[in-house]
């Protein structure tokens, strides 16, 4: 049994975005998605939970060494009357600074079961290299 099998999943409150850099320009709540960031020799991998987001509604913008994730969600159909609500619906936004090590041309993304996987490959020159002694 691994740790994850023993553990009970706890509910964490969705975090709304604090508008520190200007007022929002569109209606609706925006949330900060939860992410894991891991690094190995070749790349930095970012995993983000984006429940309810489809491929068409996800925008990944890379400029000025900053990667911005923005996602919208489908609004609930109007014929549905909410009876009981424990979570609010909203889009997602989060920014990451990339630094010089990431090869921005080679960033790839995959969206699967509401989880975004972003692979940020490192520049060739920053990858660890074993020097053979001749």
């Amino acid at each position: 049994m691994t740790d994850s099998e023993k553990k009970e999943l706890e509910l964490s409150q969705k975090k709304t975005i604090e508008h520190t850099d200007g007022e929002p320009t569109r209606e609706g709540v925006m949330y900060v998605p939860e992410v894991d960031i891991l690094e190995d020799a070749d790349a930095i991998t970012l995993l983000a939970d984006l429940p309810g987001v489809s491929k068409d509604q996800l925008n990944i913008d890379v400029r000025d060494d900053t990667l911005t994730l923005t996602a919208g969600i489908e609004p609930s159909p109007t014929h549905l009357r909410p009876v009981y609500q424990e979570y609010e619906l909203g889009g997602y936004r989060r920014r990451f600074s990339l630094g010089e090590r990431v090869d921005q041309e080679k960033i790839s993304a995959k969206l699967d079961n509401g989880v975004l996987t972003l692979v940020l490959p490192k520049m060739e020159r920053v990858k660890p290299r074993k020097v053979e002694i001749s």
Binding site: E34, G52, S76
Partner: protein, 149 residues
Amino acid sequence: MALIRWLGENDYSSPLDRMQREINRVFSSYQGGTRTAQHSGVYPALNVYDDGESFIVRAEVPGVDPKSIDIMVTGDTLNLQGERKLPELPEGASYHRREREAGRFKRAMTLPEQVDNSKVQASYNNGMLEILLPRAEQAKQRKVKVTVV
């Protein structure tokens, strides 16, 4: 609405504590006709909708293998359990940030009316679980219109 926080085998909190939590939750969340619970504490958070014929329960469960989700419906009670597994950290990799959690979940919810458990359907799309629970025929029949003679 019976929502009992499930703490697994290590539930040492007294029944009185649990009752207090439940009372606090109900009183802090009641707003007019729709109840907006801020935080039940139990994963996953559920929203319940009504389309007239059926109840629709939705949950945000990203990254959960739909095959791991068990749904049981008895009368007016929905039981939901499953597990969210995260991929193992590859060898030689390290975490910079770790906000996503893995673990098992178990949740029960009492629906506003009896549902027909033979007609319950569930789907999983973009990390959202949707359970369609048609009202039971007997529940429909209970709504008797009074005719003025």
